[in-house]
């Protein structure tokens, strides 16, 4: 009877949920007035008396709010940035109040296409409005308002998280003391849009996608979403990193099998990546969030003059890129840094030597950690945080 029976039965996810936009709705870039809506978020550490020690961590495309949890409620692994965020770590939760919210359009508790549309009582599906990076950030400002925080000490994030960081600094510069956009860009490149389109087509080509209504139909476009993830995953790695890890090694067999079975370890690895991804991610969310990234171009409203986006911005920036990242190249980061320079902003720009590709920002990269740590400490000193 109920449509909800077709959605997966899971206990409610742990963490905070805040209903926002009840009195004043969220104005989306598409023109839609959206609300009320929910943001699911996690916090770590304590907000100090003058509310000056808050760090907003923005997650990437397939990330979520469980940035530093010891056990992720779905994957059972530790949070995606446990390397960086935690007690005594670079983003020290003994010192800072860390907030990370699931983006609007996401699928881990925030309003998104798999949640129930209150008007119909059914999952939103493709009726969910198209969202942008600016919409995600606007929703976050409502959460930050609700938490009573005037100015964030820092906004930090990689990839799509970095896009949100830049959007924060463009739209709300007075609310951001320090910003670290990492492995990111001010716009999505044609190549990145192209890869996203491959991913979306894979999802939509899966018959179980059912025109976006799979939740109502009791189906799940797992194969399509897995292929999307497999493709995307390759772009997050580098050619040398992939070859070092797998080479041409065979998967549990002594010789090739003259079949289309997973002969190579790299095939098995990708299949595993795809499979585990569909357990924790919603296919429609994947469409919405990749689209948000594709639409991102901070220089658009300034006719390409990016520096104008940061005019008068007092935020201190640390722009970080990784040498083997071909999704978000150092060249793109340098465009951002040059624009910030041209706007007389306080900017550091560092390229970290790494052969691990885009994913390097999530991995153990001592040089990166040294840089981020120095930047945060320097900013904390400037902000008078003990």
């Amino acid at each position: 009877m109920s449509t909800a029976t077709n959605t997966e039965k899971r206990p409610p996810l742990p963490g905070h949920h805040m209903v926002l936009g009840e009195t004043e709705k969220l104005r989306l870039d598409s023109g839609v007035e959206f609300g009320p809506f929910t943001l699911a978020y996690q916090t770590y550490g304590e907000l100090n008396a003058d509310k000056s020690n808050a760090i907003l961590v923005c997650h990437a495309l397939t990330g979520d709010q469980y940035v530093a949890d010891e056990v992720h409620p779905i994957t059972g692994k530790e949070g995606w940035w446990s390397e960086i965020v935690g007690p005594g770590k670079i983003i020290d939760t003994d010192k800072y109040f860390v907030i990370c919210s699931n983006v609007i359009g996401g699928c881990l508790g925030s309003s998104g296409p798999k949640e129930i549309n209150p008007e119909t009582g059914k999952p939103w599906g493709l009726d969910f409005p198209v969202i942008t990076i600016a919409d995600m950030v606007r929703a976050q400002t409502m959460l930050i308002d609700a938490l009573g925080i005037e100015m964030l000490f820092a906004v930090i994030g990689g990839a799509m998280g970095g896009m949100q960081v830049l959007e924060w600094c463009k739209s709300y510069p007075e609310r951001v003391y320090a910003a670290a956009p990492i492995a990111t860009s001010f716009r999505h490149s044609a190549q990145n849009i192209a890869f996203h389109e491959v991913g979306r087509q894979a999802v939509m080509a899966d018959p179980d996608w059912c025109g976006g209504n799979y939740l109502l139909e009791g189906k799940k476009p797992s194969r399509g979403l897995a292929v999307a993830r497999m493709t995307a995953h390759i772009t997050y790695l580098s050619q040398p990193a992939l070859h070092r890890k797998f080479g041409r090694k065979l998967q549990n067999r002594g010789a090739i099998t003259y079949s289309f079975d997973q002969d190579f370890q790299v095939e098995s690895y990708l299949r595993h990546q795809g499979k585990s991804f569909v357990d924790r991610f919603d296919a429609n969310s994947y469409l919405y969030i990749t689209r948000a990234m594709d639409y991102f171009d901070l220089s658009l409203e300034y006719d390409g003059r990016l520096a104008e986006a940061f005019q008068g911005c007092k935020t201190r920036f640390c722009v970080v890129s990784f040498s083997s990242d071909w999704c978000f190249t150092t060249a793109e980061s340098r465009i951002v840094a040059h624009a910030l320079n041209a706007a007389s902003c306080n900017v550091s720009c560092v390229e970290i030597e790494s052969d691990k590709g885009h994913d390097a920002f999530l991995l153990d990269e001592p040089d990166f950690h040294m840089v981020l740590s120095g930047f945060i400490e320097g900013a904390a000193e400037g902000r008078g945080l003990k």
């Binding site: 201190r316 340098r334 624009a339 007389s344 720009c349 560092v350 040294m370 120095g374 930047f375 320097g378």
Partner: protein
Amino acid sequence: MNETASNSAANLAHSDRIRVDLQLIADMIEPGTRVLDIGCGDGELLGYLTRTKKVDGRGLELSNEGVRNCVAQGLPVMQGDADRDLADYPDSAFDYAILSQTLQATQRPKEVLSELLRIGNKAIVSFPNFGHWRARLDLMFKGRMPQNPNLPIMWYETPNIHFCTVLDFVELCKEMNLTIERSMVLNEAGSKLSLGSQTRFSNFLGNQALFMLSK
């Protein structure tokens, strides 16, 4: 308690001793000003100026390692070089643009100089002086390109491609209508030589030269 306090005071005193020639540059800078250090290396001067003169300092450094070390100390530094990356900065963005021991390594020193004085109200420039008597002796008696502890690299490997003497530099400033606000020459250890105002002597006895320029 006291011991900790005196220890940290000692550390501070220790960390705030910088290379003699950099100290001379630092002494030229008014506190609380906006400073761009081009070719800031590991941030020795920039860090010192930030700590002791409370300047709003920025750095530009070619080597990734240098940039990393600077940012890790909390200094705002970006990777880039004097030839290519000064164009982005707006006019008069800084009170001082410092180019220490780097001019001779640039592709187009003249353009770099004019960029320095576009983005900075004052430029502070230091460079090795090829008019130094020992350089002259090297050429005259040994017939070899000059080498000394400050210029240890062989000609075929050196990043220094545009050498000049103090006289050459003064001539260039004249040609570019730049005002020499201050000038001094330093010995090999980087200490200031007191030679009066005779450029000819400075050019003969100075191992390095240090100028403050304005338009």
